[in-house]
Symmetry: C3
Subunit: 266 residues, 3 copies
């Protein structure tokens, strides 16, 4: 692959701590021509699964040649590997905790262990591999160091587990897998599993707390304050409150059960 | 106008969701030379009025040729238009909800409906026009696509309503229109409506809660913890607590009444 | 020094207010070639000491020629000076409140008062020197204006006070000086003052609240939920909860006492 001057950063470091800034300094010291783009530093601390949904919703839109540096890394300082992933013409530097494995087509990626310590900072701390490993390796890759210099190709890596929806002849039963800033509830039920023709009946929660939600084509089809279900920008069923916050209103979050059935079907 | 490689982004998407990152990916895929600058992704969710004050406080300082992409868009998926605005040599892509209409000289802008779907992503979702319309159009504009290709010039658009201060021979009565991160209360009373010579008496709130505030030339003229009034960086009257938070201390916010009278005048 | 197109920004402005965006606009209007890199806009409001630890943890990693603009400035509008600091081949524009003085080797820096108003915006407000002084001066410096044009070299400036640890033949007694996003407690006890060989006994707090903490080489050496002590990425003793938040768990913060003694030593 050609050099990758476009380098994105995704971390759970927040902005009040100096960790992101230190990484930027190391990358720019290694490669002053790097074109840095922040994706997020607000992944919830050490929440690998949130990071995985974030990447799945963002990375497919980037151009070939982009290098994505991802540091959501509760295992820092242990023997968890650092991975270089070649995926659809883009590439990633990630800790081997599965954070990248919800990307579409992840199984066909070429994956290497990054083991060549000559590309690391001279002293590698036990607490901050973002600065001491990820950043200098990213800088070197941007300058044209080849993937083959990083370390060996591997065939095994950690995967994030995602719940599969139950798709039956009756209702489709899934769950919330991501809650966005607006309190929209993104589920694991793909658009392809339902008709999305307005005949759906969507229920959130179970038992007495169960609520039935109206199907719409867009938020604006219902008045402010209405609970609605529609196809999310992730391509799955979403439950939202128009100009409100469905997560707060329904006290729902990751793991809350959502089911979809056609009218007249039980 | 010439191509605009400088593209700024202002949204209410926050950073924990992948929406901003997806937009950046689409822009950079359309135009790898784009120079992206984040203005804010922390506009309060769907708060068009906050976004309008934000833009009025920020955009006048940018150079000609800058393209500002603004996605604070509670009407996404409805028939609200997408606008291309040429304003003072800069331009904006905005939803037609008034978010740009507090810019000085907004009335003289040239405004178009963005209707040329050939410039959109192939599949436009009902929930995420930032990714599917705003980002690809911004990328194309940055590559030199002309405004005339976007769609027709229009003469009508939605405006944000702002309260006007009452400027009388007695006190000037206005209200808080923006609260910044420091809890400073920015009002709609222009510096030109008062003398700002230290003879002012500024009151916040009404009834028993009314408080009279000392006029100063700069925060540092009074000790920490003092409530002060002065001319804000917006050019209007501001109420602040020195090294503190006036909004919290006075339990004031957008809409709180503020009046200014000269000493000896009732 | 050569022109500095790489300009970083560190402020306490947050992102919901237009202040950072206005600064970016002024810099880019003065110097369209500026390469802006955000370090943080989430320094706690007016917290100079937090800003100082932030800079000490970030700036040493940047390449020579970088220009750092730092606006954490409770004294804005008073007669506190604006400083231009040449430090290790990098330079800073900072308010004279000590925010830069925890950088290693700060005492050897060359410091100037920035007094040349020809480089400021025409009208300088009393509340927003970031926009009216720091940003235009940064833009001019990036275009090659020489430091000598800014103002006179000075030998006196404000310093941030940091508590020194007590290093005795018995325990080393220090305190927490920084709490990061993960709730990790960073102390002022340098690695050089202890052996870091696992024989340490680390205590946090005093009196009945005192807790003894296990020494580890890396977070991952202990199970999730364990309180551990180790060497931080700042090079000092750190107390952390594995995959948790030590600050919340121990109700500790800046100023909490931390002591280290060798086993068998009282």
């Amino acid at each position: 692959m050609t050099p990758a001057p476009l380098i994105t950063l995704t971390t759970d470091f927040g902005e009040d701590s100096p960790y992101v800034a230190a990484m930027k300094g190391v990358i720019l010291s290694t490669n002053p021509a790097a074109h840095l783009v922040d994706l997020s530093h607000q992944i919830p601390p050490q929440d690998v699964r949130h990071g995985a949904f974030f990447l799945a919703g963002a990375l497919p839109y980037f151009p070939p040649g982009t290098l994505h540096v991802v540091v959501v890394d509760p295992g820092v300082g242990t023997d968890r590997a650092v991975l270089h992933v070649e995926w659809h013409g883009q590439r990633l530097l990630v800790p081997d905790n599965g954070v990248w494995t919800l990307l579409p087509g992840a199984n066909e990626a070429q994956v290497r262990h990054v083991t060549n310590a000559a590309l690391f900072r001279e002293a590698v701390s036990a607490t901050f591999h973002g600065r001491d490993i990820f950043a200098p390796v990213a800088g070197h890759l941007g300058r044209g160091v080849s993937a083959t210099e990083l370390g060996p190709v591997v065939k095994e890596w950690v995967r994030v587990e995602v719940p599969e929806p139950q798709i039956t002849t009756g209702p489709v039963i899934g769950e919330v897998v991501f809650v966005d800033r607006f309190g929209n509830l993104i589920t694991n039920i793909p658009a392809s599993a339902i008709r999305a023709d307005g005949q759906e009946r969507v229920s959130v929660g179970g038992g007495n707390a169960r609520r039935t939600i109206r199907w719409v084509g867009a938020y604006g089809e219902a008045p402010a304050g209405t609970l609605v279900a529609l196809i999310s920008s992730f391509g799955t069923v979403e439950v939202a409150e128009v100009q409100g916050n469905a997560a707060a209103r329904l006290r729902a979050g990751v793991g809350t059960r959502v089911s979809v059935c056609l009218k007249g079907v039980r």
